[in-house]
């Protein structure tokens, strides 16, 4: 590679890094792109950073997996109805963990999730005709023409109640028989005539997914699973807003120190590693932004920072190896080649235990710890790539710039 080509590559690289760095971390750009959040801003943030509320719900009685799934659907519907569309509900053993970002009124949320309300069938004038006890089961399916339907199955008593109710409703001008859970409408089918059968179908549903939700809500409403609130935490949004910029500043300062250390100890190699580290930060930010399941949490920030520190590890292993190969008499090019070749395995080896630890945490933990495990895992994977592939290429690029290569790269022959 000629000196001129090296300089050209470095200039292009500098522009690229500057541009991407800007794209990643700038926000509120004054160039007409309104609400530009930066790639970093796109990364999903956990409730501890963004503010929010979480509650753990414990069922008061024994419930099956299917019943719990039905309860999740019901909860989700209730939260959606109230506008908490960002809420997430996850299973933890037999408990449910509900996380709601950016919520102020924790009490309202508690009311929603704590008390799911009774399942009722009502006429147009809101008189309750049937309650949840009448329902034995509810299933989604297709009718003979392939349209999605919900099939209700009644108890023996429920069948009589339903027959009486349909007879009544069919006689009204407004012949809807609305199904309520608490005070929100699940479905409002119309009734043409009296139905006296152990089964009934709700037709005219838009999609099979909708049918499944309706069936699930009816079923869990009929079950009346009661939950106890086992844990709650409100997290203030201002905390995250205060801490995030500081954490970013801390990371920037720490990165500069690390680069200074690398250059002080490894000279030209350190410069290559420092540029690679900048590329790593950008690449890593993009990777975090791409995956929708990445959640930035307070421990997650620590995971990012930790993996940046570890990213250097691979470089140190490689550079030490190269120094040694040169000491033992190889030429610069041969030493670099041998160093990288032997180091790839060592780098894999030295990162594997951290990857294993991250996977254990990822699978077995929840909440903010999961955020940590994910950032650490992705960080280590990306760092191996930049440390081995990018640094190697950068070393090639900067070598022609040295007047005295041995001094520039900090290489020494062994004293005879």
């Amino acid at each position: 590679m000629s000196k001129r080509k090296s300089i050209a590559i470095l200039v292009v690289l500098a522009i690229l890094i500057a541009f991407m760095g800007f794209a990643c971390f700038a926000s509120d750009v004054p160039v007409g792109i309104r609400n530009y959040k930066g790639i970093f801003g796109v990364i999903g943030k956990g409730i501890d950073l963004n503010g929010g509320y979480y509650a753990v719900l414990e069922p008061k009685s024994d419930v099956s997996e299917a019943e719990l799934d039905a309860a999740i659907d019901t909860l989700r519907k209730r939260l959606d109805d109230k506008g908490y569309t960002e809420a997430t509900i996850t299973k933890e053993d037999k408990n449910l963990r509900v996380e709601i970002p950016e919520v102020d009124n924790a009490e309202e949320v508690l009311n929603i999730i704590g008390d799911q309300g009774e399942l009722t069938f009502r006429a147009h004038d809101n008189t309750i005709l049937i309650t949840g006890d009448a329902i034995k089961d509810a299933k989604a399916g297709y009718d003979n023409d392939g349209n999605p339907i919900v099939v209700l199955e009644f108890t023996a008593e429920g069948q009589d109640q339903f027959a009486a109710a349909t007879e009544k409703v069919a006689g009204y001008e407004d012949n809807r028989l609305s199904i309520y859970l608490g005070d929100s409408v699940v479905s409002a089918p119309t009734v043409q005539q009296k139905i006296d059968s152990p089964n009934a179908e709700i037709t005219g549903i838009g999609s099979i997914e909708e049918a499944q939700t309706i069936a699930s809500v009816i079923k869990s409403g009929a079950l009346e699973i009661e939950f106890e609130v086992g844990a709650t935490q409100k997290m203030s949004a201002s905390m995250g807003k205060n801490v995030l910029p500081k954490a970013m500043l801390a990371t920037a300062i720490a990165l500069l120190i690390v680069m200074a250390i690398l250059i002080a100890f490894y000279g030209g190699f350190g410069i290559a590693a420092s540029i690679a580290l900048m590329i790593y930060v950008i690449l890593y930010t993009c990777v975090l932004a791409i995956f929708p399941w990445v959640q930035l949490t307070f421990p997650g920030i620590a995971g990012i920072v930790l993996s940046m520190g570890m990213a250097v590890d691979a470089n140190v292993i490689i550079f030490d190896r190269i120094k040694e190969e040169y000491e033992n008499g190889k030429t610069v090019t041969a030493a670099i080649k041998a160093g990288y070749k032997r180091a790839v395995i060592t780098v894999l080896d030295s990162n594997i235990t951290t990857i294993l630890a991250a996977i254990v945490l990822w699978i077995l933990c929840s909440g903010s710890i999961k955020g940590f495990a994910i950032t650490l895992f992705l960080g280590v994977i990306v760092s191996m790539f930049t440390a081995v592939v990018i640094t190697r290429w950068l070393t090639k690029v900067i070598r022609p710039l040295a007047k005295n290569e041995e001094r520039f790269l900090g290489l020494k022959r062994r004293d005879a």
Binding site: V229, A231, Y266, F298, I301, G309, D313, T353
Partner: protein, 333 residues
């Protein structure tokens, strides 16, 4: 250019083994005594159950005035504050954390939040001080059932991590080096527990994450040392060297790497701890303890432990090169 080359220095690491052991033992013992008999670990609400209430206020406000409002409020309720509130500072804000020992149910947390915010609002009008209006109150409640589940899953996570790492060690090391690596690992984790207890850092699920991370991380440095041991022991030029000499050379040869990589990781996490808030710091400190312990054990303890284990099991001076030499000699004869 700076250089961390210890290859030609006489460090006497193996000779001073017992000094290093005593230093570690003192820290671990002090921590364990504190943990079991004196102050115990500072369990956060996730591990002890109950409720914690955090009051975050502008750092320019007088802490005692904030505290007074809280004390006055709790005096009117049946809640009892457990011990003194803990402070933490992050940027321009201070946080007081109150612990309440109660069996928690339902919406008690949000009720306290509402009541306290109201009390601060009244104080703001009374003193004409707007900063009281901006005080944020947030609560964290954990019932006994949830606490038990958290403890159970923490134990499971650590157990799984330990098994995974043991399997890895079994594949990666030979027997005595593996035992030495496990001893180093146990050492690192014990130091983490000891220092976390001695500095009374709140222990929540993040501490478990820190422990598992260190279990994964600190084995790396040990691997590097023992890889060097294996490399040296197979060299013909080392045929007449003692175990202690081999260990010494292996440590010296890998020392610059061990120090530099820990240093860069430490720089990152220390900066974060300085600038971060309480919940970042509670996570960062145990990791810092673990990183330092990992560096200490991999450089100063692991190889010497191997030497002493070989002595103990009468394996000293067993070398692959000697075997080859013997075979060659027999072939000649």
């Amino acid at each position: 250019m700076l250089n961390l080359d210890f290859k030609n220095k006489n460090l006497g690491i193996v000779k001073k083994f017992w000094i290093f052991v005593i230093v570690s033992a003192v820290i671990i013992l002090a921590g364990l005594v504190d943990m079991l008999f004196i102050r115990h670990m500072n369990y956060g609400v996730e591990f002890s159950g109950g409720m914690s209430v955090e009051v975050t206020y502008d750092a320019s406000l007088d802490e005692s005035k904030v505290n007074d409002v809280v004390d006055k409020y709790f005096a009117t309720t049946s809640y009892k504050v457990d011990g003194e509130p803990q402070h933490s500072v992050a940027g321009g804000e201070r946080t007081l954390t109150y612990r309440l020992k109660v069996e928690v149910k339902g919406s008690e947390g949000s009720q306290i939040e509402g009541d306290l915010t109201k009390a601060f609002g009244e104080k703001a009008t009374e003193l004409g001080d707007e900063r009281f209006d901006e005080i944020e109150v947030s609560s964290h409640t954990i019932s006994n059932d949830v606490k038990n589940r958290i403890v159970r899953s923490a134990v499971i996570a650590v157990a799984v991590a330990v098994v995974v790492i043991l399997v890895y060690i079994a594949i990666r090391f030979n027997l005595l080096a593996g035992v030495a690596a496990i001893i180093a690992l146990v050492h690192d984790v014990l130091i983490m527990f000891a220092l976390t207890t001695l500095f009374q850092i709140p222990v929540n699920t993040t501490f478990i994450a820190a422990v598992i991370t260190i279990i994964g991380y600190s084995i790396n440095a040990t691997i590097v040392v023992f890889d060097r041991v294996r490399e040296l022991i197979a060299l013909p030029s080392y045929i007449d060297k003692t175990d202690a000499e081999i260990a010494e050379d292996a440590v010296k040869g890998t020392m610059s790497r061990s120090i530099l990589t820990t240093l860069t990781t430490l720089v990152m996490i220390v900066c974060l701890a300085i600038f971060g808030n309480a919940s970042i710091r509670d996570f960062a400190f145990p990791i810092i303890f673990g990183l330092v312990a990992g560096l200490y054990s991999s450089v100063l303890l692991s190889a010497s432990t191997w030497v002493n284990l070989r002595k103990l099991f009468k394996q000293e001076n067993k070398k692959p090169t000697k075997k080859i030499k013997k075979i060659k000699e027999q072939a000649k004869a």
